[in-house]
């Protein structure tokens, strides 16, 4: 039995009359790539927000590495190793790639403020940032402003910012959002490279990518997790097929 990194229990979030998260259950095992899929409006991002701490659930609990983090602020979750990326790219546009990553590298010691020593003299930090840049394929772009990168590269930096914190669990909210086929291919390869190293909870619309990457897939419909299992189990699940009725043609096609 593998170790459970993240455990979501009976999570409920309501916005007025709408129940965006409806007693959602989810557990992510260590070292796995766990995908969360579901039709548009199923509440995937809302669930990610609650796991990362951007939103407070109305009831239920989130456990991370055995600790109850349901009411913990976002930065403390990040310090414990639960780090998210964003569906809408959220990087430091006016800073260079290296500066972006150097900020992230040091986040774990962020509570120790350093007021005097020139930040540029912290060579270690920049060296580590450069290693992360290499890892996400931006090694030759260290001094380019983040805002000047192409969309695909900005998505790579988005991932890099989360990776640089050395997370135990990476929450990736649609890393392939808005990418062309080549860029997506690139990102899939990148995520493949993280396998075993980092546990990942992946929200993604690109079914092809999901079936190639995920060890486990959970399907979210109207805020409820209706099924969890391997790719094959999910594909064969009649409830999942029903939820994806409009997309029925996509599922069998993605089987290969």
């Amino acid at each position: 039995m593998s170790e459970i990194v993240l455990q979501v229990e009976q999570l409920v979030k309501r916005f007025g009359g709408l129940t965006a998260t409806d007693h959602a259950q989810l557990s992510v095992e260590k070292g796995r790539i766990h995908a969360l899929i579901g039709p548009n409006g199923a509440g995937k991002t809302t669930l990610i927000h609650q796991i990362s701490g951007a939103l407070q659930p109305d009831s239920g609990a989130v456990h991370f590495c055995g600790e109850d983090i349901t009411h913990m602020p976002m930065h403390q979750r990040a310090l414990r190793g639960l780090v998210r990326s964003y569906q809408i790219t959220s990087i430091f546009q006016k800073l260079s790639v290296l500066d972006n990553l150097a900020l992230s590298v040091q986040a774990r010691s962020g509570s120790s403020m350093r007021f005097w020593r020139p930040a540029r003299a912290e060579h270690d930090r920049y060296a580590q940032a450069a290693v992360v840049a290499d890892r996400v394929g931006l090694g030759t772009q260290l001094n380019v402003l983040a805002g000047a990168l192409s969309h695909g590269q900005q998505r790579q930096l988005e991932l890099g910012l989360a990776l640089a914190v050395r997370p135990k669990l990476l929450l990736l909210d649609e890393p392939m959002a808005g990418m062309g086929p080549d860029e997506s291919e690139n990102m899939v390869a990148l995520l493949q490279g993280l396998r075993g190293d980092t546990t990942i909870l992946l929200v993604e619309h690109d079914m092809d990518a999901v079936f190639r990457l995920a060890d486990t897939i959970s399907t979210l419909v109207f805020g409820k997790v209706i099924a969890s299992g391997t790719a094959q189990q999910i594909k064969d699940n009649p409830d999942v097929r029903r939820a994806y009725l409009g997309d029925e043609a996509i599922l069998p096609a993605a089987a290969h």
């Binding site: 602020p73 990040a78 959220s90 006016k94």
Partner: protein, 329 residues
């Protein structure tokens, strides 16, 4: 051997060099200034220069939170006023040593900023502006109601603070040099702070607060520390201002004073190391100059401000910045 990682090749938004050569020239000129003024009649200009330097300090402290931290505080004069009143009240109770009273002024103003910040920083955007303004107005009316300390009429100081034997702060020249030293130290300290990890984090929070929190930085704590430091520096400016004028009054804390500090920062350059200094010099010289011609000097000042904002929308300091575009497509 790994290739060296260049972090200094390209000037970045995060780097705020002192420009030591220019700073040294400027400092020399400022040191020479009272000597050139002579002793008869020059006193007025030396005193005016002190006033400008003090406001440069106050504006620079505001720039720390407004320019680098992205916190639009509309109540900064409250901390200047707290510093000033601390000195005046201490003097009334017989405490005259600058070594005790000035740090005390910084402490009181810093504590005030800590309390105001702890509450205000829980809000965002326009609410933050309004709540800082509200706190400043509360302090203003509190001081107005304190009849023991002069109430609306203010409080006169019997003399200036005492610093060291041989150094008589009552002499305009001595006071000027002490002010110059403190302002220089403060701006140097701010430069160290901004180029240190703290400064980088503060500016990154301004750029993208949510992301900073998502990668694990205690954003609120960083902002509160910056707010408190800015308050303490404003308190020092207040202590100097009280000494310069020999008088404190509630008008020091009025919202128009906060507005003036903001205008100085915007004029000089939001987020530029010398922005506060340039803004204070320009604003106060303009005020001095225009008010010799007309009592409606504010009208003229308004026109000049408009012109500056049109010519240099990022403030005067931005004119001195070497063009650094074109590196990136």
């Amino acid at each position: 051997m790994k290739p060296a990682i260049s972090t200094s090749a390209a000037p970045s938004l995060l780097d705020h060099p002192l420009h030591a050569r220019w700073a040294a020239v400027l400092l020399l000129a400022l040191v020479a200034f009272p000597l050139l003024m002579g002793t008869n009649g020059g006193e007025f200009y030396v005193s005016l220069a002190s006033r400008i330097l003090i406001f440069a300090l106050a504006a620079s402290s505001l720039n720390l939170i407004l320019g680098y931290g992205g916190m639009l505080s509309f109540g900064h004069a409250a901390f200047v006023g707290l510093g000033a009143y601390t000195v005046a009240i201490a003097m009334q109770s017989g405490l005259t040593s600058a070594w005790i009273v000035w740090p005390l002024a910084m402490g009181v103003a810093g504590l005030g900023a800590l309390i105001v910040g702890a509450i205000s920083l829980r809000t965002q955007g326009v609410y933050f502006i309004m709540i800082t303004l509200a706190f400043a107005q509360m302090l203003y009316f509190l001081v107005v109601s304190l009849k023991t300390y002069g109430g609306e009429d203010g409080l006169s100081m019997a003399r200036r603070s005492v610093l060291a034997p041989g150094l008589d702060l009552a002499r305009e020249r001595d006071f000027y040099y002490v002010t110059l030293a403190l302002v220089t130290l403060s701006i140097w300290g701010l430069a160290r702070l901004l180029n240190a990890h703290f400064g980088h984090v503060l500016q990154a929070i301004r750029e993208n607060e949510v992301r900073m929190s998502a990668i694990g930085y205690p954003v609120y704590r960083y902002k509160l520390v910056a707010f408190t430091l800015a308050g303490a520096l404003a308190g020092l400016a207040g202590a100097l201002l009280a000494n310069l004028g020999g008088f404190v009054s509630p008008s020091l804390m009025q919202w128009s004073q906060s507005g003036m500090l903001m205008i100085m920062v915007i004029l000089g350059g939001v987020g530029y190391l010398y922005g506060g200094l340039m803004g204070a010099v320009f604003f106060l010289l303009m005020e001095e100059l225009l008010s010799t011609y007309t009592i409606h000097w504010q009208l003229g000042l308004g026109a000049v401000l408009l012109l500056v904002v049109l010519v240099a929308p990022n403030g005067l300091a931005s004119l001195f910045k070497r063009a650094r575009g074109g590196r990136h497509v």
